[in-house]
Amino acid sequence: MSNSVQVESPLHHAQLDQLIGQSNSGGIVLHEAALLGHLNLRGNSDDAEFLAGVQEALGIALPITPCSSANSELAQIMWLAPDEWLIVVASGSEYEVEQKLRSYLKGHFAVSDISGAQTILELSGSNVVELMKKSTGYDLHLDSFPVGKVIGTTFAKAGAHILRVSEDKFQLVVRRSFSDYIWLWIQQGSQEYGLTIV
């Protein structure tokens, strides 16, 4: 049995690491936040015990306002639906966090490890809002899409969850099998602005 286990993010084949530093002038900056731990959490947000359990397990309150997110050292939590959240944790810690949740939560809930199912693409740069306008029909104005908000929407012809990290930085949570399509889309849409990989 081999000791070195090779791990490949969904965009591994794009060889982004080899593109880093090739261009620095792009109006669009792309970074794959690869190989993080992704957990899908389901539960009843009206259930105080459930909320308390999550708080205890993660040290952070579950965001229950629609389209909100929360952050702690341990985890980043995104609201996906009234009974569904995405918990993003450090690479390799997903199993531990899952077990922790299972031990703190009682009653009706579900946790699924989906770390292999998706990746996070961070888009930023001076033209990032324009690229986003090409890609999603959601209103990107800060009044409607403030920092910290997360939405499930369409991105080109794929679905995605989009979190606004700062005024000009977004995180896209995309499915593994669609990631190549989205990579092609971003390249096409960035053509007029230039694309920098970091």
Binding site: M1, S2, N3, V5, Q6, V7, E8, S9, P10, H12, H13, L35, N40, R42, D83, H108, F109, A110, V111, S112, D113, I114, S115, G116, A117, Q118, E130, K133, K134, T136, G137, Y138, D139, L140, H141, S144, A156, K157, A158, R175, R176, S177, F178, D180, Y181, L184, W185, Q188, G189, E192
Partner: protein, 1007 residues
């Protein structure tokens, strides 16, 4: 002779320092930056720009805008970049532009077809197609072949488009369509409230009618007010300005579609950016400030080049410094058009006379014209034009508009240009797009927007308000009102209004069709819709024949079906219909305008969703390996799945036989990652499975797997797969590749809408797992090499699953088989998929492990009689039809989905089509999939078909061909012969047999 009609520089809209050379019909001309192709052609004295569609009459430029019916060109210098049918009036001139007419053979000046048009013209009234070419029936296709030869305007490019296109989504408080005086005023006042404003205009610069007006605003030329206002808007962060951007559609819930032309004015092959961009604007409030189009008058031979709209003539003079002729006759029903005569006169050319159809007018413009010494004849009209390739003169006669008659002798006046104005028609098109019906406004003799459910405001010419001071004031007010409706500002404009004084105008006359001394049917042709050669006589004929609804008139005569979509002619056509039927125009009714406002490039509408981005292609984590190893791919839903793995020089069938034999005899490996996988958790998970699957789930133990079938409520199979019990209250369900999304949606539908009380959650984990199936007698040996647990038959039984480490990676291994061989389905977290795959390949090397694709998988499963939903079923097949009653729970308490429908009459028939195997009599003949089955070989057509082949292959392992099929009552017909009449005329025989061909006892998978 160059630019004979260009007068001394006065307009700032064209740049005399930049001369642009272009060609028209192969001849070289020059124009200036800022010209349209139309203004440049007129500057060069080009009269004939095309031939009419039906009669091949010479045609010239009539308008200066989107109404243009004649100057429809082919523009572009190569077969890849050529554009069919742009209007010269809306095409910005660029250096090297190559334009040609779209009709006329051998050329527009000498067109052979015109002889046919002249002779045959009287044979071609509206509807003539319907009345002839019927006999004999067999010849219609030949007639039609000839008719089609004359079809069309421009030609499609012959090569792929080098340009790209894209789209952008926007949201705003106030979207303003049209940047004329009303639109600009509205934009400024809305923007000053802090509202998010977008303003677009189809022209190359903002200003609309002000770009060619001389009416001073705040004591300056109106273009200066435009410049200042645009400059002010440009400094505001909350405003987006979109010139060269045509709103082509206004859709429900205030979605506005805009096409921005980004490089067309620069030339061809401007690949630095997308050629055109569609903006999709979701606006809280929309202000339509689209203005009005001038309406021509309908008179005899009104299509001879040199007949133009009055306002177009003024536009060419004031905006482009082009006077399109030498001697003008102006015919008008209103004061406003007197401007044209004044402009012409001031440009230093001769105004022969103004012909005013009214009895009198004392408006300021009338007085001004008279003061300049221009002759004015009241109570008269131009009833007929003489000339063919250019106006030579006009016949002017006294008319009575009320009883539509000529009341005296006509007098001939030589001239070369006839400008006409029948008043103005508000540009109501966009307001009609969402179903709002326009209403007739008698005061302005035009339609204005009717009631709408949209959050829509209108102002300016669109409302029928034409005085500039009122238009500007309405713009400022409407902008503020719209902003307030969007939640911004107080609803009124607080700033000072720019000052302008409108000339006093007398009332205009509602005249559309100018009478002739002859009856309309006998008068020279009076064109209503130029592009389709629709005449007043044609419309009256249609009415006489009983086509009385305006929609019938349109469809019978083709009125409004040109590329200007009736902008120029519709109102006149309606008025002629109304008059001929003795009705009013509102009684006659209007037609509803549809998108596109002006023709919109296909490429722009598709945006970036073309070529490889047409539809997402989905890949598994091992895709690159498949590519590197020469796989051919099959499209399954959006997935690209390996179909087979040919070795160099190997034909498909050879590859399949090699893959099958390797799997049956040693070990093969399949990438099964695309199967849908759903994580099901909760204490009611079992109950839920009981309800959606046909078979029972109550007793499935932890560590066990079970195959299940799902039906729709109509009892028909729609998906299948293996579901494993992970924990007491947790299952992992697999679905078909194509069905994954649908099944998850299906589960959610039932849970959310019918059984919310069941405590269960579903999450898709399809993409989380990479799945590789190793199959074949040596598969265990391969697995043992890289797996950290005992996978012997004693420890790991068929239909069990275990957790283990494979190649150092945590894995779930399912001992299930779709090939009938000893099989292990290894699932690892997808980031480790490639690693694990390569480790399995390395471990299997000594057994010559063979990758196989979907085709071999299909063959191997068919040998075992396993169905593929969607191939062996088609939405009309029950589990019973599949001889799979064993998968139907008999004791389940809940009436699971689909069950009730099985007791309907049709489901109880014993001659339903049932799944069976077929063995062709010729063991080497592979039946075509889709071949139809009959019992009676010699029946004549129509034959009684009793089923068809759903899957069919040659089995390398068994050494003969075989098939799966559905046959009426087939289950009880095993051993009988059926016949398959094939498309090549031969009929082959096959025997009905069990669908399980290989290892019927299932020993091989249990070892």
């Amino acid at each position: 002779m160059s630019q004979v009609n260009r007068i001394a520089a006065s307009s700032k809209r064209i740049n005399r320092n930049r001369t642009l050379t272009f060609t028209f019909n192969g001849k070289e001309y020059q124009g200036f930056e800022g010209d349209t192709v139309a203004s440049a052609l007129l500057a060069n004295g080009v009269d004939v720009v095309g031939r009419s569609f039906k009669y091949s009459r010479p045609r010239g430029i009539i308008t200066s805008d989107s109404q243009e019916p004649n100057a429809i060109f082919q523009i572009g210098s190569t077969q890849a970049t050529t554009i069919p049918n742009p209007r010269a009036t809306q095409t910005d001139l660029y250096h090297g532009l190559a334009a040609s007419s779209t009709n006329g053979w051998p050329n527009v000046d000498f067109d052979l077809m015109s002889t046919v048009g002249k002779l045959g013209g009287s044979m071609m009234p509206p509807g003539f197609y319907y009345k002839t070419f019927m006999f004999p029936q067999s010849l219609w296709m030949s007639y039609e072949h000839l008719i089609r030869k004359g079809a069309g305007l421009g030609s499609s490019p012959q090569q792929a488009d080098p340009d790209s296109y894209d789209k952008m989504h926007h949201h705003c408080d106030v979207m303003i369509v049209g940047a004329g005086p009303a639109g600009l005023a509205a934009a400024l006042s809305a923007a000053q409230t802090g509202a998010r404003v977008i303003i677009s205009d189809e022209q190359n610069e903002f200003g609309g009618s002000l770009l060619c007006s001389k009416q001073q605003i705040d004591g300056e030329l109106p273009s200066q007010w435009v410049e200042k206002t645009v400059a002010q808007l440009a400094t505001m962060d909350n405003v987006l300005l979109l010139p060269r951007s045509t709103v082509f559609g206004y859709y429900d819930h205030n979605l506005v579609g805009i096409n921005e032309r980004r490089t067309d004015h620069l030339g061809e092959n401007q690949l630095q950016s997308t050629r055109q961009r569609v903006h999709k604007v979701r606006a809280k409030q929309v202000i339509l400030a689209t203005g009005a189009h001038e309406r021509p008058l309908v008179y005899g031979n009104n299509d001879v080049p040199g007949c133009m709209l009055a306002n177009a003539v003024s536009t060419y003079i004031n905006r482009y410094d082009v006077v399109p002729g030498n001697q003008l006759v102006l015919m008008t029903t209103n004061d406003n058009a007197y401007k044209t005569a004044i402009d012409w006169h001031q440009a230093g050319r001769k105004v022969v006379t103004i012909v005013d159809t009214r009895e009198s007018s004392n408006g300021e413009l009338v007085k001004k014209a008279k003061k300049l010494g221009i002759n004015v004849i009241f109570g008269h009209a131009v009833i007929e034009v003489s000339g063919s390739k250019r106006v030579k003169g006009v016949d002017i006669a006294p008319i009575n508009a009320v009883n539509h008659s000529v009341t005296g002798a006509a007098k001939h006046f030589p001239c070369d240009t006839v400008a006409s104005s029948g008043g103005w028609s508000p540009v109501i098109h966009l307001s009609s797009h969402t179903g709002s019906r326009p209403v007739w406004n008698e005061d302005i003799a035009g339609f204005v927007p009717g009631e709408t459910v949209q959050q829509q405001h209108i102002c300016g010419g669109l409302e029928g308000v034409y005085d500039l001071s009122k238009v500007i004031s309405a713009g400022f007010t409407t902008g503020a009102v719209a902003a307030q409706a969007a939640g911004k500002g107080e609803g009124s404009y607080a700033g000072t209004l720019p000052q302008t004084s409108d000339p006093q105008e007398d009332a205009s006359m509602a005249l559309f069709h100018v009478p002739h001394s002859k009856k309309t049917s006998r008068a020279p042709k009076q064109f209503v819709d130029y592009q389709n050669d629709v005449t007043a006589a044609g419309i009256e004929l249609a009415n006489r024949e009983g086509f009385e609804s305006i929609e019938h008139v349109k469809r019978y005569t083709a009125l409004g079906f040109g590329t200007d979509q009736g902008k120029l002619g519709n109102i006149n056509g309606m008025a002629i219909t109304a008059k001929s039927l003795g009705k009013t125009i509102p009684e006659t009714g209007t037609t509803i305008f549809r998108p596109m406002y002006t023709p919109t490039t296909f490429g722009a509408l598709a945006g970036a969703d073309v070529k490889h981005l047409f539809d997402p292609a989905r890949f598994s984590a091992m895709h690159k390996w498949h590519l590197d190893n020469g796989a051919e791919f099959e499209d399954v839903g959006q997935w690209k799945r390996p179909w087979y793995f040919p070795k160099p020089g190997e034909a498909m069938q050879d590859a399949l036989e090699r893959e099958c034999l390797a799997t049956r005899n040693s070990v093969g490996i399949l990438d099964a990652s695309t199967l849908g996988k759903i994580d099901i958790q909760g204490k009611d998970a079992r109950e839920f499975l009981n309800r959606v699957y046909t078979n029972p789930w109550s007793k499935l133990a932890v560590g066990k797997c079970r195959y299940g079938v799902m039906c729709k409520e109509d009892g028909m199979v729609f998906d299948d797969g293996v579901t494993a019990c992970l924990e007491e209250n947790r299952f992992i369900m697999t679905t078909t590749t194509g069905g994954a999304a649908g099944v998850l949606q299906w589960l959610e539908l039932w849970h959310q809408t019918e059984w919310p009380e069941l405590e269960v959650y579903f999450s898709t984990v399809t993409d989380h797992w990479s799945t590789m199936t190793i199959s074949g007698p040596n598969s265990r040996k391969v697995l043992e090499k890289i797996c950290d647990v005992d996978v012997s038959n004693d420890n790991f039984k068929y239909m069990d699953w275990i957790e283990a480490k494979v190649a150092g990676v945590k894995a779930r291994i399912f001992r299930i088989s779709f090939t009938g061989e000893l099989s292990f389905e290894i699932n690892v977290q997808a980031n480790y998929g490639m690693h694990t795959w390569q480790a399995v390949m390395a471990a299997g090397e000594e057994f010559d492990i063979t990758p196989y694709g979907t085709e071999t998988m299909h063959i191997l499963r068919a040998e075992k009689g396993f169905i593929i939903v969607g191939q062996d079923t088609d939405g009309s097949v029950t589990p019973q039809d599949l001889d799979m009653d064993w998968v139907v729970g008999k004791k389940k308490e809940f009436s699971f989905i689909g069950k009730r429908s099985w007791t309907r009459y049709d489901n109880k028939r014993d001659d339903r089509k049932q799944m069976v195997g077929l063995k062709p009599k010729d063991p080497n003949f592979v039946l075509p999939e889709g071949a139809q089955i009959v019992f009676e070989k010699n029946q004549s057509i129509p034959m009684t078909m009793v089923g068809h082949v759903t899957s069919s292959y040659y089995s390398a392992c068994m050494g003969y061909s075989f098939a799966l099929a559905v046959v009426k009552g087939g289950i009880s017909r095993k051993g009988q012969s059926v016949f398959l009449p094939l498309s090549d005329g031969t009929t082959v025989e096959a025997e009905i047999c069990s669908p399980v061909f290989y290892d019927p006892k299932g020993d091989r998978q249990n070892v």
